[in-house]
Symmetry: C2
Subunit: 184 residues, 2 copies
């Protein structure tokens, strides 16, 4: 989590989003039901808005709340199979390629998994609130909570909490898949 007070970030986000939508300061204030003087001060970073105020602005702009405190980043990027920038292999028979780590606030990571039958990958609980999504691309795997794993095959999808002990093992050679690790 970002440690710096997000006032300047909020100020920039508000102005950026408002101009993107093409609203004037006065009109946005009217839509959000706040005084335009308040909005003016917020956009000049001379203010510490209350949650309700910022929420109203988020609704008026039709923008998720978090987008106002965590700035975005648009881009087009390709990662070819096997050339992931951050290869995170743990033990034999297990390779996780980090495809997309969350740029600003680290809210989710996207991995490509390649597994071979053998030792299961047992994971200790991650940070509370973590959720893992698994989709099998090829082969079969046994995954999910350690005390209640599920067998899934090609095209199957599995969600399970990441903040409890969980496991993931291949049941066939050449098993691959993608995993979305989400920090709710």
């Amino acid at each position: 989590m970002n440690r710096t007070a997000p006032l300047e970030v909020i100020a920039a986000s508000l102005r950026r989003e408002r101009e993107r939508v093409g609203l004037s300061l006065s009109e946005l204030a009217k839509r959000a039901g706040i005084a335009k003087s308040t909005l003016s001060q917020l956009e000049s970073a001379s203010g510490n808005p209350s949650v309700e105020t910022l929420w109203a602005l988020g609704v008026a702009l039709d923008v998720p709340f978090s987008r106002l405190v965590d700035p975005p980043a648009a881009r087009v990027q390709v990662i070819r199979a096997g050339e992931g920038p951050a290869i995170y292999s743990e033990r034999a028979h297990y390779t996780a390629t980090l495809l997309a780590s969350c740029p600003p606030g680290a809210r989710r990571d996207l991995f490509h998994l390649a597994l071979e039958p053998g030792a299961a990958r047992e994971s200790d609980p991650h940070m509370a609130g973590t959720v893992e999504h698994l989709v099998v691309s090829s082969g079969r795997m046994l995954a999910g909570p350690t005390d209640n794993p599920v067998e899934i095959g090609v095209g199957d999808y599995l969600v399970y909490p990441g903040d409890i002990a969980h496991t993931c093992r291949a049941l066939e050679p050449g098993t691959t898949g993608i995993m979305l690790m989400e920090h709710v």
Copy 2:
């Protein structure tokens, strides 16, 4: 985006997170650098905290900001290949299965894609701030911004902005993949 004022949600989140970490109200207030009276009022939903106050609490709890306003939901769920709950097919040769729509605040959707060669799927721009992540499970596809598509094969990963015109077409029969649509 949720339309209701999140004061009760914040109150519940604060109490939940604080008890999860095992901190007393007094100690959390001290760590966050705010008065415990303030925290007490916030947890009883009789308050409208400023962003700085809530931010300080998020930092002290080591919890993402958004987790305080959007409550979580832990669960284990399997969706077998082809039995997705919400099949969203648009035209022949294109099937998108919604695997996981974001429960509370709709910040991302996870789809399984099955495409056959033929007409490309042209998408008008989605909501501003949308980002699409694509991983190919089988076959080959041509995807990305309409004016600059990229050819990707098995295991390849592609990110591109979803708020501009973009396309997605199969180059081989039996092309499948997963798509993470994210609303930043």
